[in-house]
Symmetry: C2
Subunit: 374 residues, 2 copies
């Protein structure tokens, strides 16, 4: 294969964005070969704008079986990702799925299993993994510069969404349409980076979601979650869509100091000696370790979506490892599902979660919602 | 009365500090008339250093009944505060109690009741209420500048205490000696300011305390607490003694924007129009309110302990209202007790708390501790 022939499913905002940089030839070794969208008028626009070189299909199933493509980029509503990915794998296609991987882990686990059976290249559009800030954070933690982690704290409340936003589509902020609120729609990146950059998945979670706070919607738009990790560390994740201006501040403290990412800067308060060592030898009741505060240099770059598509293309052509393997999508989603489940059960949720219980509880929400609309 | 004759109970670090500024005549209308301490050698030092003008007593009971004083400043271990205050009120004395008011709310409620019956002036040494930062915050919130509060978030993890500190006194960080850890010893100010500055007491609390984390102690030294308020707002309070360098960052978001206190500065992101109003009239899905960011000027001053003692003296002499009424001590303590109780019961705690249940659980800790030492 010289060029990966890509098909895009779903030409909404995201799908159209991906198409644009592919058409401009910004991804080496990839070409946009086909698109599918259920709206004939959207396909007519495509023909008019992009010409006949790109084949159009009214259904993804048809496109998957056309022989016109080698891989697909799935940009459809969340619920459809696993369904379409599983079909694409069955058709022998490589898959790059938009985030979130899906709405509930049960369907995402099935997607992961289908990917494994297929042996195809399976990626997820976690474009924030190309952000130099979070790449650097991950590298600092993985290399031991911060020492063993003791606490994580992410306040990510700058996802402001007005009622007008929620009213702009009938599917928005509904259990049936999107399968959730801020956790599934706005936070997938942060929920992924929280575990990816730290290398820690929570062991158990206790969370407190508010539904329709200051907004006329049925899903969660204000969440506080507490997490415990295997190594004894704890974490907090706070998010909302009704506060303005919100905050985006990620603090991680470890045995060798503290890192804070805020305002696109990373500050490191680094202990000259690990706290555990200092504490072991220190004999002065009010002494504390020597600390050096400095800003970590962050390289420019981070090509976001384009870089993830390039990375996935490279993997297809050269077998290089993926920055964002599709299998990882279940991690952030597990955390997200756990937060809702903890609220619904008003108790602790151990990870991995009881996927059937979550699925049942989600169905209850959908049914209740349908009744209240009827 | 021209001068309030003050007696100090307990000449440890705090008591000695109060004595020093009183002897220097830094509190108008007050004079240090007597001190009591259970250590005769400490009293001998007092005689030598401060002369015969100050009477000394080996027991507070004796001092309370000596006729030598009009009011007492209680600087004894936490458990003794209510016992001594109740006795002092019975002797017709005014009382200024060091924080925390006590260890459990049951005894503090009894102290408050004794104060009410006595009609004497009853204050608590919440010296941080004289800090211009928090006075300003309280004023901004009370005057409506921030609008209705939606979220509070205090990360107060800069209470670093090494093992050497904990080893420096056998009573330290024990249930029998101090009645708790970071909540009762380091956080009383923040727990008070959290409710005083915002004007909001939590309606219920779910908290997660770790005991002896990275330290060989039996009490809590790492806490994450989630609070819900009557108006629907939520809050987070995170504290620890083992992290270095810690953080002291208090963020409050409201209908008119956000205030953050950090590094002794107060930043206000103020919305030109309240969010609730903007949201009601806005018709553009991705629009947000106009926001102005600025630093709030903070006046110099805040005489801390001395100012609280002056304020209490003024109240005795002139009947002026107290900045820190003794009755307020139960508020922060209720929050503190609720956090422990939530951990011990692994569930929600409604406020006001079940004071008998807390007392019983505390006794269990003390007994378990005694057994493990035997």
């Amino acid at each position: 294969m010289n060029k990966v022939r890509i098909g895009i499913v779903g030409l909404g905002n995201m799908g159209t964005g991906h198409a644009a940089y592919l058409i401009e030839g910004q991804v080496n070794g990839a070409v946009l070969a086909a698109v599918s969208d259920i709206r004939p008028e959207r396909l007519a626009q495509v023909k008019e704008q992009w010409g006949d070189g790109i084949r159009t299909f009214e259904s993804p199933e048809e496109m998957f079986r056309s022989g016109a493509i080698d891989g697909v980029l799935l940009c459809t509503p969340h619920y459809e990702h696993p369904v379409q990915a599983i079909d694409a794998f069955a058709c022998g296609l490589h898959v790059l799925v938009e985030k979130p991987a899906g709405v509930y882990t049960k369907q995402v686990r099935e997607m992961n299993e289908a990917a494994a059976v297929s042996g195809k290249i399976y990626g997820i559009m976690y474009n924030q993994r190309t952000n130099p800030l979070y790449m650097k954070l991950r590298e600092l933690i993985a290399s031991g510069e911060l020492g063993e982690i003791r606490r994580t704290n992410w306040i990510i409340t700058n996802w402001y969404r007005s009622q007008s936003y929620y009213n702009s589509g009938g599917w928005r902020a509904t259990w049936a349409g999107e399968g959730g609120g801020v956790l599934i729609n706005q936070d997938p990146h942060q929920l992924d980076l929280w575990q990816w950059a730290t290398g820690l998945m929570p062991k158990r979670i206790r969370a407190f979601c508010s539904f329709g706070k200051h907004r006329d919607i049925e899903v969660e738009n204000d969440v506080t979650a507490y997490a415990e990790y295997e190594n004894g560390a704890t974490g907090v994740f706070v998010t909302s869509t009704h506060e303005y201006p919100g905050t985006n501040r990620f603090e991680i403290s470890g045995d060798r100091g503290k890192i804070v990412i805020e305002d696109d800067k990373m500050t490191f308060w680094r202990l000259r000696q690990p706290e555990s060592e200092f504490n072991r030898v220190n004999t002065s009741p009010f002494a504390a370790p020597e600390v050096w505060k400095f800003e970590i240099p962050i390289s420019a770059g981070g090509a976001q979506h384009k870089e993830i598509t390039q990375d996935w293309t490279n993997a297809i052509l050269n077998g290089t490892p993926l920055l964002a393997p599709g299998e990882d999508g279940i991690k952030g989603l597990t955390i997200s599902n756990a937060m809702l489940l903890s609220t619904w059960t008003d108790g602790w949720v151990d990870l991995p979660i009881d996927e059937d219980l979550f699925y049942d509880k989600l169905q209850e929400q959908i049914e209740r919602s349908a009744k209240s609309r009827a």
